[in-house]
Amino acid sequence: MATEMEAEICDALYADVGKPETEAHVHEISLVKSSCLFALKNLKKWMKPKKVHARLMTFPSTARITKEPLGVVLVISAWNYPLLLSLDPVIGAIAAGNAVVLKPSEVAPATSSLLAELLPRYVDSTCIKVVEGGVSETTALLELKWDKIFYTGNSKVGRMVMASATKHLTPVVLELGGKCPVVVDSNINLHVTAKRIAAGKWGCNNGQACIAPDFIITTESFAPKLLEALKKVLEKFYGKDPLLSEDLSRVVTPNHFNRLLDLMDDEMVSDKIVFGGQRDEQKLKIAPTIFLDVPLDSAMMKEEIFGPLLPIITVEKIHESFGLINSMTKPLAAYLFTRDSKLQKQFESTISAGGMILNDTSVHLTNPHLPFGGVGESGTGSYHGRFTFDAFSHGKAVLHRGFGGEAKARYPPYSSAKLKILKGVLAGKLGAHIQAILGFPRGK
């Protein structure tokens, strides 16, 4: 489907968010394909029961962990990567042997109807269904009993999903958002850093991505240099008039457009613009816009931006950035650019986030060997690669015992002799085991 319907998919993604063809291919179609191929390649390995140690205590015995499907699962997807965030979890759910209902986001209607039309043609439509719709359909779906619910979106709705799941005690995976910080040290390759930040921010759906850099923290002294580098890179990427560039996604809906304008034009920050600010209401486009030193209590610094606005916050010494990040809720991703390995180590051990990258942005989601998910406000559970398979599986412990090795000491009537043997057995003492197996204590 991903191969044959490439053109249609690109058209739908363009209609929904104005996604440039390259992003559509690189961030959605290719990732869906490689996710399928990865699952196909590894399926047998993932499905194989895993033998584990069966200890002396239960000798003789063998123990295995067998993965089994959970049953019938619900995947609720988001609008910003409407193909990828629908199909990636579905791929894992199928690999794990479940029946699936997919509820694509109604905010990306072209992709939603494309999926509803195409999926039944390519997969077993008796086991994999697409249900389209908005709030009322989603609410109705959440009333039903599922064996797992996988939700990608914002934390407000995430809370409602978890609350609904309570009714049937359904376990959930919540892939939410957060303010992903980028800490930029002065000990770096400035040009490469600027490119990677720009690629992760505006090259990812024009900032409308859960792992897009939300804001930058750098030192007062380095900020001007970083700003200059970013300006240069942005001009190279998007030309002198970014609103005319084909390579920038538009803002998804008038609602979000107005939300972003409110953030930008907020009088607490409007005088802090140092680059960009152009907007086109007709086309729902906003140019890459950079702010310098917005107040920490401004709306822009309190909510997830999810758009092409990039505040740069300055601190005196780079270490102060850690305290600032830790004063906020745990993000989905945190980024640090530095060559200083001590700073890297400190970042790794002090900052908690779903995932982190040193010297790049966003790319960790393409590595299927890394678990992708949030922590705290940014979510619970993880997926990608084998982790998706596991998210939709139950690891059932299977213990095989024989009729040999009967230990009388286990049973009443109790006595201090039996207790002594049990103590030995549980402490792993071989002598006690032998006694136990030989049926000590004799008599009762």
Binding site: T22, T58, L169, I188, V192, A198, D247, G355, V398
Partner: protein
Amino acid sequence: MEGRMPETPALGLDGLVGGLREVYRSGRTRELAWRRSQLKGLISLLTEKEEDIFDALREDLGKHRTEAFRDEVGVLVKSVKNTLQNLEKWAAPEKAPTPLVSFPATALVVPEPLGVVLIFSCWNLPLGLALEPLSGALAAGNAVVLKPSELAPSTAAFLAANIPRYLDSEAVKVVLGAPEVGEKLMEHRWDKVLFTGGARVGRIIMTKAAKHLTPVALELGSKCPCIVDWLDSKRDSQIAVNRIIGAKWSTCAGQACIAIDYILVEEQFAPILIELLKSTIKRFFSKPEDMARILNEKHFNRLSGLLKDHNVSCSVVHGGGMDPKTLSIEPTILLNPSLDSDIMREEIFGPLLPIITVKKIEDSIEFLNSKPKPLAIYAFTRNEALKQRIIKETSSGSVTFNDAIVQYGLESIPFGGVGQSGFGQYHGKYSFEMFSHKKAVLKRSLLIEFMFRYPPWDDRKLGLLRHVFRYDYVSLFLTLLGLRR
């Protein structure tokens, strides 16, 4: 036996949680040395205070010290020692492969503590269900609040008095009190909550957790079935019966989430099984103190109510005797009580054992699949084909063949439910992981750059990217050299 600790006033909870967050932020609990000291402290607590523990468990449940050791103290010490031994390995970052195209890069999965966690434990294994998860949470580097069940007050008081003595009392707190205290605790945000108990309260916990997006793990109850196949040898039958009795009446008088709830057996084998059960019960329970009592009047009345149902009382083939004064019910066996009766619909959690007969043993699979997924399925059989069918065609937290309950003490396998019996797994390494976040860390170098990553886009760059995503390095290389379109 220590005096009762005063209940932590509800008003003090804000300060309690705030204080724990401060302690966690200080980084103290993350140090491996701290974690080791806490685990060693737990072992000391369990070994030095063994007599006090036996006393508490006898007061709360009438548990014999041997049972208390076997099911709670002994298993705990073994588990904590295992955790101590493996701590460094579990806490170490794990390397993950990275595709060539992101060279040079290293990818790691780094376990980190979740932060400040809350553990609710249940009354039937009041020590084990509190301290096993506690050991996992501490090993993972968290600060912890433990809320023991008020229905086992002696053990709760024991924990409140001794945890501060043996562990870091600023980072590990015990909060006593009625269910309202638990609800007040849930008004706060936690980094994880583990609840062991019934589904009704499980729902309340999860609902409150949703407000703060607090991740939860629920260890709930279920009806754990035991399939008993034809066992030709007398020896096998006797061993099976020993183990069945051990997993029913010898474990807190059947008041255990993994106790055998009911038996499924072929019509023709049932009489043999019943006779063997009767004679072995007589031998095992010659002394009344060898079986735990029923927790309290409420549960006693619940259990006697199950038997009073007229569709049920006629099916009693052994036992049925009850003494409300001592809260004891003798081992009771029922043969084919009505399937609509409460005893066959609710989790029994007591010393009543229904035996349901089927025509062919394979029919038991369909029977147990008609009920919600249980925490454990047991089967006594030598038939390999039947075993495979049970594994493939049923779903449960775990499956154990030819024994029961012992899976609880094996650290290498996960312990937890599925479906209505709950979600989240622990024991051994799983306890550590339950209270950890596995953080993906990707380290890239600023050295090598691929121009085709960046806009402005064109077909050539798109083509190169297609090669990258297919990991088609040869085509990528050739295209870069201009030898291929």
